[in-house]
Amino acid sequence: MNARHSTLAHPTRLALAAALALGSSTAFAQSATEAELARRLDQLAAELAAVKAQLAVLQQQRNNAPPAAVPAPAAAAIAPAPASASAPTAAPAPEAVPPATVLSSYGEINYNHPTGSAKDSQADMRRFVLGFQHRFDAKTKVVTELEVEHGVASADDPGEVEVEQAYIERQLTPAWAVRGGLFLIPLGLLNEYHEPTSFYGVERNFVETAIIPSTWREGGVQFVGNLDNGLTLQAGLSTGFDLTKWDAASTEGSESPLGSIHQELALAKARDLAVFGALNWRGIPGLQLGGGLFTGNATHGQAVTTGRVTLWDLHARWTPGRWDLAALYTRGTISNTAALNTPLVGNPTLIPKSFDGAYVQAAYKLWTYEDYALSPFLRWEQFNTAKSFADLGPGITPAAARSERVVTLGANFQVTQGVVIKGDVQRFRENKDANRVNLGLGWSF
């Protein structure tokens, strides 16, 4: 690379000399005098320069693209580049035009070791995701992600294959774009930025798993505005949850109430649609303040009454210097749960009326060398998947769950941009059997 580009005269001569010595005629090289050889080299170099210049003109004509970095409208005011033997083409320094199609991927391989129960240790190909982005034209692109969870998906295996994102985005104006298809819901800090290189800790935080499901996506239409004052506005209409599939006999609903009734656009019931909106402000470098709201009926005319699911969040992230500080609060409610729960009485997991969670997190980039970066972090979180139940009468109304508190202490070690090794220790206040040590390897590009 260096030899090819560093200077014009010398590498060219060297290359030509090598070509002559190897490829042309051994007899010639042996018989020609040094002066003759040098003269011929100069002649060839001059011819090569002329060919390069012609090639550049031809390519310029063929591409016929409106140049951004070469003077067009104000050409008269700009003197031509000084003639120089070191400028064979008019190509500027920047890279090539962007490719229309780009592949992307992220993945997580995790190891969980419960400290009180080593026999339950597990290693898992948690997520393997392949995606692509393709531009149809200047303003229109498709974005997709296809995910395999837990390594193998079959009737006898625990894995799942999921389409995580598949939407078309059309730029309407410099500030506004519209998306249609299957997209991520803009709630919280993690859901839209869920790649392992984007969050601290081996596992995603509990609040943005149990209360805000992740990776949470819906089908619909979404408008995105990026305003010059630092505000990003997102709003849309989409599919929502399905309360009719609440499984009161399992504990799934107590682990993540909304995670157990999301539809993921898999033959999603769509009589009732939801609306959502999010507002984020990043007007001060390093600071993000925002919030989001999602609300919609979730019974689709198939239950004894209507039940509306509403979830909102407020969040902040501040990254002064080497610090990365984050805080989030989220709360969800489901309406008419008394009527919805009546036929389910006797089962272990009734539909909660409310659930919430919050966390604060601090990370510090302690050490860097070239692309290596070590960032220890500490996260405190509290969440309750059944904060309250609607009154069903004495002796029948379930007791609210106790809030779980989890402290996570660990570090992300960036090997290079896009590759991360993680390790952490998690301590639970309520369910002490869940205390564990985690190790993880992740990538994203």
Binding site: N2, Q59, A79, P98, P99, P285
Partner: protein
């Protein structure tokens, strides 16, 4: 960082200027240059090549040289050189970000302008508050996200790559001036 599926097509167009056709173009290179040096009465294109020792010097500063061939616009008023403007492109997450860096004669960044941004996230790098962080930085500054440049949440790659690009341009212009390839 990523795999360009249609690389041959991109290579075929290599000799062209950076594409201005994708997504949102905010400024042309000439508009950006005029914005940065409003006192200039003309701009002259200057081209130069880094030699092997200069490439090594960059490497030793922790700067990936990327290309040996460089182009800048010298801002002139009469015979006085006011500074230079370098237009460059870096990859954000999936797509190219086109930006311009104006550098004064003392090697300090005068202004950054984003000419085109194509990613779905991270438009905030266009905000004056983020770009102002670079003003006055020289080749002696760290010019690193998480050091002297604050990140934008959700646009880490765009921030990192533009910052890395500015660091490269400041170092390259510094070297070119010392070697006499650029006026100072």
């Amino acid at each position: 960082m990523r795999l360009a599926v249609l690389a041959p097509a991109a290579l075929a167009a290599l000799a062209a200027a950076p594409s201005s056709v994708f997504a949102v173009d905010y400024l042309s290179a000439d508009q950006a240059a005029a914005l940065m040096f409003p006192d200039a009465d003309r701009f002259e294109l200057r081209e130069w090549n880094l030699d092997a020792s200069q490439m090594q010097a960059l490497q030793s500063q922790g700067v990936r040289a990327r290309s040996a061939h460089w182009t800048a616009r010298a801002a002139l008023r009469g015979t006085n050189v006011l500074g230079v403007v370098v237009v460059d492109e870096v990859i954000g997450k999936f797509e190219l970000i086109t930006y311009a860096v104006g550098i004064t004669n003392d090697g300090a960044v005068k202004q950054i302008e984003v000419l085109a941004y194509r990613e779905s996230h991270g438009h905030e790098i266009r905000l004056p508050a983020w770009r102002r962080q670079f003003v006055g930085k020289t080749a002696a500054a760290p010019l690193r996200v998480g050091e002297d440049i604050a990140n934008i949440s959700g646009a880490t790659l765009s921030c990192s790559h533009v910052t890395e690009g500015v660091r490269r341009i400041v170092a390259v212009v510094d070297l070119a001036r010392k070697a006499g390839a650029l006026p100072s």
